[in-house]
């Protein structure tokens, strides 16, 4: 057995190496290249007992499967034309008015983020929104900013909306419907703040009148929408039947994948790429390394720092602390580190931590200070990127959104029996 102080130091060094590699990603190598060996080392050195490691993997397993299913669902919805159809409807509905388009982007962006996760909004919806603004000959900036901000802020509602939610959902012990019911008010509050701030912040880009396009030229893809609807209903039913919602997500992904594969619209390779296997390995390995850090002693420190009452002030303290932690490195290790202590203090604390790690990343445009500094360093050799405006927008929205969402969470926790 390694001495305790040494174990803590080694575990922290391994965590630092894992995260630094994930941020820098030399030559575009996957994060798992360092994370997996680091996780193995924690077990081999005896910092993380094998039994604890296996238990951690068992508890992470369904979450990782859940994530894979959601990634596949979003990818298939894109290939079936769901995002294109959304773009056409936004274009027709805006009738050339920039504020109307922003309103539609808020509605569609919030819904897509909640149901298909923030990844879908960032990777799949943002280019469609951009194309829609250009098609209407409107300035694209406010609408793209709305997408990137909503990807974080609107990912509060459902356990599937964000990987951090999936992790917190399992730790909180809440049912799917209960999670959604408690987070509905904070979700609305955070989106409301984004709307109010963005509308004022970027008012001079929401001007003039664009082109008016005729009504939706193509039919909305009904099958993917129906599958998504059934999957959401299934989540609700599964929590009544005490069935793992990951199973429902896998069924939904299968219902879209099988016909697409059968008609050769999609290859198996496309689905494998959507699943992002190296990333799933990274999540598992990061979970183990963070567990090792917690076990070696940092967990007790975090537990001492997390208050155990659900008063408004405690919730606010945890939310702000989580936002700061998420901004230092990334929201994924932040929530992994906070979860054991927060879960011990009750589901209210877990959800407060979630508000912090989900809203917080809007403060820096890349979601963490470390990534921002690294990218700055890279860019200095080329042209200076124009991120000042986006950082100012983050500084204006995050504090208000965080406070409003925490207040709403406090009300929801008191209001729900």
């Amino acid at each position: 057995m390694v001495p305790r102080v040494l174990a803590e130091t080694v575990a922290l060094l391994l965590l630092a190496a894992t995260l630094a590699f994930a941020v820098v990603r030399p030559r575009g190598l996957p994060e798992a290249v360092v994370a997996v060996p680091a996780a193995l080392l924690t077990v081999l050195l005896g910092i993380l007992p094998t039994g604890v490691a296996l238990e951690e993997l068992r508890s992470l397993g369904p979450t990782i499967g859940f994530l894979a299913a959601v990634l596949v669902l979003a990818e298939l919805c894109d290939r079936e034309g769901l995002f294109e159809a959304a773009g056409q409807r936004m274009a027709a509905g805006a009738r050339g008015r920039p504020v109307a388009l922003l309103g539609l982007v808020f509605a569609v962006g919030s819904a897509i983020t909640a149901v298909l996760s923030l990844d879908a909004t960032v990777v799949l919806l943002t280019p469609v929104v951009f194309a829609t603004a250009l098609r209407l000959r409107l300035r694209p900036k406010p609408h793209v900013y709305a997408c990137t901000h909503l990807a974080n802020t609107a990912s509060l509602l459902l356990p599937v909306s964000n990987l951090t939610n999936l992790l917190a959902f399992r730790a909180s012990g809440l049912s799917f419907t209960r999670f959604a019911a408690t987070m509905a008010l904070p979700w609305l509050a955070a989106i409301g703040v984004e709307w109010l701030v963005l509308r004022r912040f970027i008012a001079t880009d929401l001007v003039g009148h664009g082109e008016v396009v005729a009504g939706p030229p193509s039919r909305a893809p009904r099958y993917p929408v129906a599958v998504l609807g059934c999957t959401l209903l299934g989540f609700g039913l599964a929590s009544l039947l005490h069935l793992d919602p990951a199973v429902v997500a896998a069924l939904g992904a299968g219902a879209l994948a099988l016909p697409a594969l059968a008609s050769r619209r999609v290859q198996v390779g496309d689905l494998a790429r959507a699943v992002a296997l190296p990333f799933l390995a990274f999540v598992a390995a990061l979970g183990l390394v963070v567990r090792a850090v917690s076990e070696a002693g940092l967990g007790q420190l975090v537990a001492r720092l997390v208050p155990d009452s659900s008063s408004l002030l405690s919730l606010l303290a945890v939310a702000v602390g989580a936002a700061v932690l998420a901004n230092l490195v990334n929201n994924l290790p932040a929530i992994l580190l906070l979860l054991p202590a927060a879960a011990a203090a009750g589901p209210g604390m877990v959800l407060a931590a979630l508000l912090g790690v989900n809203i917080g990343p809007n403060l820096t445009y890349v979601g963490s200070l470390a990534t921002l500094l690294w990218r700055r360093l890279l860019h200095e050799r080329n042209a200076e990127p124009a991120v000042g405006e986006f950082l100012r927008l983050g500084a204006l929205t995050v504090p208000f959104a965080l406070v409003a969402a925490t207040l709403a969470l406090w009300l929801a926790l008191r209001g729900l029996p």
Binding site: V122, V123, V207, A276, S368, V387
Partner: protein
């Protein structure tokens, strides 16, 4: 004046029609006209930044990177906008499409021009300083040539200016010596 007048029109989505319409009757027949569109690089930066926040999930297949899709679309749309503007202007013009820091690229393009035509950002509901966005403000302040600043719609009437305050503000109180001085 012997040399032909060189005029640059900076066109932005939402207000470009008004800018073209305002400039058209004022341009001398022999003026050399250039049309400029600058796409803000912040849009791609924000997209790539959001992608970086996803860590390894944000690696779409070739040709599907959001920032790549955005750049390609942006250039096409800008070219189409300038073609439409040239048709609206009703005369031949030199078309320039740029991407980057908007205000700096506009100033750069205005080097050597005799007149820069700029539209305000907005309609008559945004009078006063609010009618200039940050990029327009910078261009007006730093242009290396005379600037023609136009309203994209009808120019507001003089009576749109709010009346001066009816009561003049009270004069500042004179400095008084405090007891402890």
């Amino acid at each position: 004046m012997t040399a032909t007048m060189r005029v640059l029109l900076w066109l932005v989505e939402g207000t470009w029609q008004g800018c073209v319409d305002a400039a058209r009757p004022l341009l001398p027949a022999d003026a050399e006209v250039a049309l400029l569109h600058v796409a803000p690089s912040e849009v791609e930066e924000a997209t790539t930044g959001a992608l970086a926040g996803l860590l390894g999930r944000g690696r779409p297949g070739p040709g599907r990177h959001p920032a790549e899709r955005i750049s390609a679309l942006s250039d096409q749309a800008a070219a189409a906008l300038l073609t439409a503007a040239e048709a609206r202007l009703g005369r031949q013009a030199h078309r320039q499409v740029r991407r980057g820091r908007v205000e700096r690229l506009v100033i750069e393009a205005a080097q050597g021009a005799d007149l820069l035509v700029v539209a305000r950002d907005g309609d008559r509901s945004r009078l006063g300083p609010a009618s200039l966005g940050p990029a327009t403000r910078f261009v007006v302040d730093h242009a290396p040539c005379p600037v023609l600043l136009v309203w994209p719609d009808e120019t507001p009437a003089v009576d749109s200016i709010p009346p001066p305050p009816t009561h003049p503000p009270p004069p500042a109180p004179p400095h008084e010596h405090r007891a402890d001085d």
